[in-house]
């Protein structure tokens, strides 16, 4: 819930208050969707919408989204989602299911993602990201009649590489090359040792190895944090197991 609140406030729009339905145009650079306000009685047009008022005093959120029929690369408009209203006499609990024209029978229908006779894997990845984001905000009941059969392994490895790894690799290689050039120049100007002789030195070789390993393993600052947290937790757990032995050594 706080994610949706945060997203609303972070946009350059007038501040949204809980439970109020205000129109506010927003544009997203990547997806080209615009999100005007939602009216409860939706006409039968495009719209995957998500008002999600919780009945019993959880933090109420008014997430108003409405997708316009956009002629995307895939060319298929999103589909109206079924809106059910719970008649419990409390706050209206609107239950939504994730629906998308290309999500057929619990998996993505690859035929609908064709671009020039080939499957547009980028669009498949985008669609799956959207689906998971949706379900994170509005968890759905798992059903035996309507199981999710999607298997991420149908997306080939090179699609991931091309889209996510290669641009990052290009960036990192570029940075490494620039830094490497200037470091070599700098060391040469200081010590007079040329590039070829620098490479022959053991210390330089070690530094190079460390630099390459570091760049490969640590991509972002968050990685270090996650790794550190994991190591801390494991160490702490280890200490808890050893605690009973500390008692013994203290006595001796």
């Amino acid at each position: 819930m706080s994610v949706s609140m945060a997203l609303m406030s972070s946009l350059s729009a007038p501040n949204l208050q809980c439970m109020s339905y205000q129109p506010h145009p927003q544009t997203f650079p990547k997806t080209h969707f615009s999100f005007p306000a939602l009216t409860p009685k939706r006409a039968a047009f495009d719209g995957v919408c998500a008002p999600h008022a919780v009945a019993d005093g959880g933090s109420p959120v008014a997430v108003e989204v409405k997708e316009e029929a956009d002629k995307e690369g895939n060319g298929s408009p999103p589909v109206v989602a079924a809106v059910k209203e719970g008649g419990e006499g409390e706050l209206v609990q609107v239950v939504k299911k994730f629906e998308d024209g290309r999500w057929v029978g619990g998996t993505w229908d690859l035929k609908q993602f064709k671009k020039d006779e080939k499957v547009d894997w980028d669009a498949v990845i985008d669609a799956e990201v959207r689906r998971r984001k949706w379900l994170e905000i509005n968890p759905e009941t798992s059903s035996n009649d309507d199981p999710v059969l999607f298997d991420t392994s149908i997306i080939p490895w090179w699609a991931w590489m091309k889209r996510f790894h290669l641009p990052e690799a290009e960036l990192l290689n570029g940075r490494a090359a620039m830094v490497g050039f200037f470091m070599a120049y700098f060391v040469d100007s200081l010590t007079g040792v040329g590039l070829v002789d620098q490479m022959g030195n053991f210390f330089c070789k070690t530094l190079l190895f460390v630099a390459v390993a570091g760049v490969l393993l640590v991509r972002k600052n968050e990685d270090i944090e996650t790794l550190k947290k994991l190591i801390d937790e494991t160490n702490f757990y280890d200490k808890q197991w050893q605690a009973t032995w500390q008692d013994e050594t203290k006595k001796e």
Binding site: K30, T141, D247
Partner: protein, 450 residues
């Protein structure tokens, strides 16, 4: 006599066959508190086992069959303890449990990711392999009656106090209420198997541990819905059902247990329970809640597990694994190990034992055998249950047969399954790949709305 022992070992070191490892621990010179040989009692050693669950009953059985005078205290012999009720195959073998105790043999497990992607475990199970679901009251009373037949004196009583002695060799006093009257028992050794809120632990100032809370509702389903859960257990992952653990639907004898657990967010447990009820809404539609129960589950061992001649076993010691939350097998195993340790150290109840004996024969053996298991499971839990990224990666990985076989084997037999190196490497590569992909998806998800 200790020096003769030492001499004997040193002499034989040179002539012992190369394959026999020398027990270096016993080569250490004895400590100053005269651990060498304790005087022989002119009576049997007296041990009180507080708590008659799987841990206590196994301890009492080992003690009684080893010739020690054993007293087993259980305050309530008929209560159904809140528990998942799943026991691994190795427990049935190791503890000679009759199959009549098993209500249900679960041969299929489904794991559901936050985005409802499901994976079915169980393709690799052999026909004779299953996860046994038992009713705790049935299992517990069976183990208690076995302890009784071995010679333990089972007392239906509530232990109210354990008085620790002021001098080293003075006995312990157990004060209890039996049939309304207050009684006392003087014993030499106390085994604390009284669960998460252990009174014995408090008596020896064993320290606190953090607990998770497990909450579950037992729901009686209509027959056609129950058919789906005939041999199937389900595990659900997601922030809506638990921030750091999983939610489950386990079939029991004639109903299902739907529950969830958490450590870091205990005040929201009701919200998570609603979450899991919503996730399985269609599958439990029309069911009636027959019982609601909750229980604390220890998250890690207590700072002190042995002090004086008191040893903690089972939940009282904190032997619940991470990741699976399994406690029954480890409780019974630790009870047995402690009982056997006392029997060995006292030479069949003939000698008094010391704290060092308990540490050497029970704690050290236990840690040597199981610490790695616990640590590995802790690592898996931190990595795979901590965030949606990890959970999706887990479900992706579990689709692979090799992973399924390895995890089921290690669960059922409590040993590191023997895979081949090549498959292990492939599994490692697949893990890295899955994580990379789910991390990318996670990053894209964050970018989408922001």
């Amino acid at each position: 006599m200790a020096s003769q022992l030492l001499h004997h070992r040193i002499l034989h070191r040179g002539t012992a066959p190369a394959s026999a490892p020398i027990d270096r621990r016993n080569l250490r010179p004895p400590t100053t508190c005269a651990a060498a040989v304790t005087p022989s009692l002119h009576r049997k050693l007296r041990v009180a086992v507080i708590g008659g669950g799987p841990a206590g009953s196994s301890a009492a059985e080992s003690l009684a069959s080893g010739g020690v005078e054993t007293f087993l205290f259980e305050r309530n012999t008929s209560s159904a303890k809140p528990c998942g009720g799943a026991i691994p195959l190795c427990m049935i073998e190791e503890f000679d449990l009759p199959l009549s105790l098993v209500d249900r043999k679960v041969t299929e497990m489904t794991i559901v990711s936050p985005s409802n992607i499901t994976v079915d475990f169980g393709k690799t199970l052999m026909p004779h392999e299953f996860i046994a679901m038992v009713r705790r009251e049935v299992l517990d009373s069976y183990l208690r009656s076995r302890a009784q037949s071995a010679g333990a004196d089972v007392k239906t009583a509530l232990v109210t106090e354990i008085r620790t002695p002021s001098t080293t060799n003075a006995p312990y006093k157990v004060i209890y209420t039996e049939e309304g009257s207050r009684r006392e028992l003087v014993v030499d050794v106390v085994v604390g198997s009284d669960g998460a809120n252990s009174r014995v632990a408090k008596a020896i100032e064993a320290g606190e541990y953090s607990c998770a809370i497990a909450f579950q509702e037992r729901i009686k389903l209509p027959d056609e819905k129950m058919e789906y859960y005939e041999n199937l257990a389900e595990m659900y992952l997601g922030d809506d059902v638990s921030p750091d653990f999983y939610a489950w639907v386990f079939p029991k004898c004639d109903h299902v247990a739907v529950g969830t657990g958490t450590v870091c967010s205990k005040q929201n447990i009701k919200m998570y329970q609603r979450g899991i009820r919503d996730r399985v809404k269609h599958k439990i539609n029309g069911g009636k809640v027959i019982k609601v129960e909750a229980h604390p589950i220890p998250e890690h061992p207590r700072p002190v597990r042995v002090r004086g001649r008191v040893a903690l076993v089972g939940d009282a010691a904190g032997y619940v694994t991470k990741c699976a939350g399994e406690g029954i097998y480890f409780a019974a195993k630790s009870g047995r190990m402690c009982g056997e340790a006392i029997v060995k150290a006292s030479e069949g109840g003939e000698r008094m034992i010391t704290e060092e004996d308990l540490r050497r024969e029970y704690l050290r053996k236990w840690d040597a055998e199981y610490v790695t298991t616990y640590k590995v499971l802790k690592l898996l839990e931190s990595v795979f249950y901590g965030s949606n990224v990890g959970r999706e990666a887990l479900v992706e990985l579990c689709g692979d047969e090799y992973v399924q076989r390895m995890s089921l084997d290690s669960y059922m037999y409590k040993r590191l399954a023997s895979g081949n190196r090549w498959e292990d490497l492939k599994m490692a590569a697949r893990t890295v790949g899955s994580f990379w992909r789910t991390q990318i998806v996670g990053r894209e998800m964050e970018r989408l709305k922001l």
